[in-house]
Amino acid sequence: MSQSYNRGLIEDFSRWREFSAGMWAWIFHKFTGWVLVGYLFTHIAVLSTALSGAAAYTNTIQALESLLVVRILEVGLLAVAVFHILNGLRLLFVDLGVGLEAQDKSFYASLILTGVIVVASVPTFLSGVSI
C-alpha cells in the first residue's frame, strides 16, 4: 500500500511507559547481553597486555584497579552480569515451559535480586581503592 502512512519506529521508543514486564525483560536482557559482549572484547584486550610481559600486565591491571571509575564500572558490570544471569535463568525456565504464568513476577524477582547482590558486593568491589 504505497499510499498508506506508516508510523514507523519513532513510536516504539516513546511508548516505553506502556511496556509490560515481559517486554522490559526482553529489552534489559538485550542491553545487558550487548554490554557483556562489549566487555568480553575489552577484557581480552586488557588481558592480552600479558603478551608483552609480566610487568606490563601487572602494572596495567593495578593501575586500572586503583581508579575509582574503574571500580564503579566494575560494579556496573556486576549489575549487568547478575541481571543477565538471573534473567537468563528465567528465560531458560521459560524455554522449558516452567513458570510461564509467573513470568512477570520472576522478572521483578531478578531485578530485585540483582539490586540486592550488587549493593551487597559494593564494599568488596570498592575495597582498597585509593581516592
Partner: protein, 293 residues
C-alpha cells in the same frame, strides 16, 4: 465539539436544468433535511453537555485522500457516558453524532469477529471488549502499531492474513474413516489441549504487540504459530502430519524468532497462552531434530 475539517462547499450546479417545480420541491426537501440534521446535532451537543459524565476521546485520524487529513492528527471527541459503554460504543457514538467520516472496522460487538483490535491507551485491545470505565482519560485511540494505516483506525491486514495462511492452516490427515457418518475419535484430554488455541479470532493484536514481528516481516508471528499448534497438537491428524507441521514451524522465520516477550500473551483478547504454545513447539522441534542426530 467535532474537529472534522469543514469541506469546501462547492457551487450548486446540478439543479440548473431541473424544472422550476422540481426545484421548489428540492428546496423544501433540503430545508427539511437541514432542519432534521440541525436538530440532531443540537440534541447531540445537548446530550453531551447534560450527561453527568462525558468521556474524552483522542482519536487518530488520517486519510491519504483528504488534504486536511494527510498529515496524521488527533481529534478530540466528548462522548456522553452510559453504564456499560465500551470503546467501540463511544467511537460509534462519535461517528454517528459528530463526524460520519470517522472510520474503523467493527461488526459483531461481542469479541468474536476480531475486526476492532485497536491501540487504546497504549495497548492492543478489542474496542468492543474494553469498558470505558476501566480507562483513564483522555482515552487515546490509535490504529494497531506496526501495520500500515489505510485510513483513521483501519490498518492493512493483508500481511497478517498471509502469515496465517502460510502455515497450512487446515486439517489434514491420511486416515479418515470410510463412512460419511463415522467420526474420528478424539479424547477429551486432547480436545482440551487444543481448545485454547482454537479460540483465535484473527484480530492481529498479538502480532501488533510483538517487536520481533515488527522487525522481521517474515516472522510467522504468534497467531500463525498458534494456528499451526492447533493442528500439530490435534491427535486426529496423525504423526506424519505433525512432522510436516514442525518442518514449517522450524524454518528460520518460524518459532526460533520468538524471544519470549510475552506481549502477545498479554494482549490476546481470547486469553490464548501464546508464548506457552510457541515454547512448546520449540521443544517439540528440538526433540524432533534430536531423533536424527
Amino acid at each position: 465539539m467535532s474537529t472534522q475539517v469543514p469541506e469546501s462547499v462547492e457551487e450548486e450546479s446540478a439543479t440548473e436544468t431541473a424544472s422550476a417545480g422540481k426545484q421548489k420541491r428540492d428546496a423544501k426537501k433540503r430545508e427539511r433535511a437541514e432542519r432534521v440534521q440541525e436538530q440532531r446535532e443540537a440534541e447531540a451537543a445537548e446530550k453531551a453537555r447534560s450527561a453527568d459524565d462525558t468521556f474524552h476521546l483522542k482519536v487518530f485520524r488520517y486519510d491519504p485522500e483528504v488534504p486536511e487529513k494527510q498529515e496524521p492528527r488527533f481529534d478530540d471527541f466528548h462522548v456522553p457516558y452510559k453504564q456499560g459503554m465500551t470503546v467501540l460504543d463511544a467511537l460509534m457514538w462519535a461517528r454517528d453524532h459528530y463526524d460520519s467520516s470517522l472510520t474503523f472496522r467493527h461488526s459483531c460487538r461481542q469479541a468474536i469477529c476480531g475486526s476492532d483490535a485497536l491501540f487504546v491507551n497504549g495497548s492492543q485491545r478489542l474496542g468492543c471488549k474494553t469498558q470505558l470505565s476501566d480507562l483513564s482519560e483522555p482515552v487515546r485511540i490509535e490504529p494497531l502499531p506496526h501495520a500500515d494505516v489505510v485510513k483513521d483506525l483501519v490498518v492493512d491486514m493483508e500481511h497478517f492474513y498471509d502469515q496465517m495462511e502460510s502455515v497450512e492452516p487446515y486439517f489434514q490427515t491420511n486416515s479418515l474413516p470410510d463412512g460419511e457418518l463415522d467420526e474420528q475419535r478424539q479424547t477429551r484430554e486432547n480436545r482440551e489441549k487444543v481448545k485454547m488455541s482454537t479460540r483465535c479470532i484473527w484480530c492481529s493484536a498479538c502480532m501488533s504487540s510483538c517487536n520481533i514481528a515488527a522487525g522481521d516481516n517474515e516472522y510467522l508471528g504468534p497467531a500463525a504459530i498458534n494456528k499451526a499448534y492447533r493442528f500439530a497438537m490435534d491427535e486426529r491428524e496423525g504423526e506424519d502430519m505433525k512432522q510436516r507441521r514442525l518442518e514449517i514451524l522450524e524454518q528460520e522465520h518460524g518459532v526460533w524468532r520468538c524471544q519470549t516477550q510475552f506481549s502477545c500473551t498479554e494482549v490476546c483478547p481470547k486469553d490464548i497462552p501464546l508464548t506457552e504454545h510457541i515454547q512448546e513447539l520449540k521443544r517439540e522441534a528440538i526433540k524432533n531434530n534430536l531423533k536424527f542426530w
